[in-house]
Symmetry: C2
Subunit: 327 residues, 2 copies
Amino acid sequence: MLTVLAGGVGAARFLLGAVEAVDADRVTAIVNVGDDTVLHGLEVSPDLDTIVYTLAGAIDPDRGWGRRDESWRAIGEVRRLADSAGIRADDPNGNDAAGWFALGDLDLGTHLYRTSRRRAGAALSAVTAEIAGSWGLDLRIIPVTDDPLRTVLETTDGRRLSFQEYFVRERHDVAVRRVDLEGREQARPAPGVIEAIREAGVVVIAPSNPVVSTGPVLSVPGVEDAVHSVRDRVVAISPIVGGAALKGPADRLLRELGHEPSVVGVAEWYAPIAGTLVVDRVDAALAGRVEAAGVRCIVTDTVMGPPGVAAALARTCIDAVGTGSQP
Amino acid sequence: MLTVLAGGVGAARFLLGAVEAVDADRVTAIVNVGDDTVLHGLEVSPDLDTIVYTLAGAIDPDRGWGRRDESWRAIGEVRRLADSAGIRADDPNGNDAAGWFALGDLDLGTHLYRTSRRRAGAALSAVTAEIAGSWGLDLRIIPVTDDPLRTVLETTDGRRLSFQEYFVRERHDVAVRRVDLEGREQARPAPGVIEAIREAGVVVIAPSNPVVSTGPVLSVPGVEDAVHSVRDRVVAISPIVGGAALKGPADRLLRELGHEPSVVGVAEWYAPIAGTLVVDRVDAALAGRVEAAGVRCIVTDTVMGPPGVAAALARTCIDAVGTGSQP
């Protein structure tokens, strides 16, 4: 059994490789919900949807998010109405009426369905299973918690932004001094989360943003302890390659929060809970510093562009646990 | 100044004629919100939207509701997901996750915008003005109230249905024993409603369903009194023609609630507040019984299919008030 702690795009690509490397019904993804938000009254779960759409082959391959063959008629109307009324995205409340979050028509169907089911009392994990089931997916995709957990980024000028406000509206082009995970004290792991960690042959921490993707996953009480208890079987994949994030603000956030934006910083971040860190070949020279941080270092191809890289990376993670647990 | 108490389709067609007969900026529509509902978490106002879309020339001319050149990608996804999960429209909660209410993609844009604006604290009347403004409409379109007012139909088998559950999901093919207007005691007229009635040269009660369209409008405390106070200037147009509703269940509801489903029943219904009732030529023989109910009866063409009928009907209503106030 392979369990993957997952954010969005990077984790989704790794999971595509994982279900090539092992039978899909042996794979469980435990997914970040700190990015979840309510837009226009709709419950939106970007990381869950990115993973489902990617595994279903329904993701837009160019954007890396949202649906393939998407149309934008509904949000176009929203923007027309907002323009007419002078509603701006950058007003003090970050008014979502301005349509700054691009929701495609097909994607809206997912949000309409999820919102209805949630309002009817279904847990997010149950609705996620329904959505994944509609695509015929055999892997398990579980939100880390069914309770509200929200990543809030406090900027150096004192604003408190939801993840989507930070990431989409502000294009992560603002300085952050602090990240809070609102609701974490009250959040309980969703059904199956702790078991999937404890009983996994290998737990992979996907190459997702450690601060705002795997961070919220690990913040749910009980999750980090469970991961720690199987540390020898935990393999993290560095989302930092050559000192930069492949996508998104992981490097910038690490730096702003006082960490080194390199595989060494990632090694220090994960050392308490991961026995192994996989880094890209471009960072081979840093392997010694990674191991000095207290994790075994494996050097391989980690950039999941070319076909086969993701599956090979999954096999590397699995083999890593089979071949020893300490550097 | 012409003020029209309005439901959906019939009222919208009359208003098209009204803005042909007089300058649009002299016309005010006071619109039913008892049909409003929350679907998938979105605030939907069917009568307001039907009027806006019709006056904007954006209505689908064949269906009579929703947008012209509409697409159905989002709701198609909802239905695919519901089918996969076995969610049915006819479960005890009438689960809207089944997608029984057809929301088009363009139409969804209106609901997304309205819901965002409402969640940001804007009153329904303010949002309605924004939406109407985006279409360049010069007439005023005001929801009768900014407060929650919900038409609930109790069926003879004891179920309590929202208007949309009754009208769309059940296709108004169930027997009703009672209609409640939930929230009416607490509802206050929206800004401008009472003035638009008191100061109008003519108040027209559109040929809408008296039970579930103009009924909720008149139920808001203060509205019926205001209409009553200008009774001599109030002209109702019968929605019943030849003993049947042109569209929808007005005849059936009148009968089920103990009223005669004819222009005579309509005359009795409106006599306390309307000085004049306009009936169709096919009901000319009933003019005497209409007047016996206590309203002046005007006989003319009321079926607003052919071009020119709606404008002529508006002129007839205006002239009716100019030429005398009692039978």
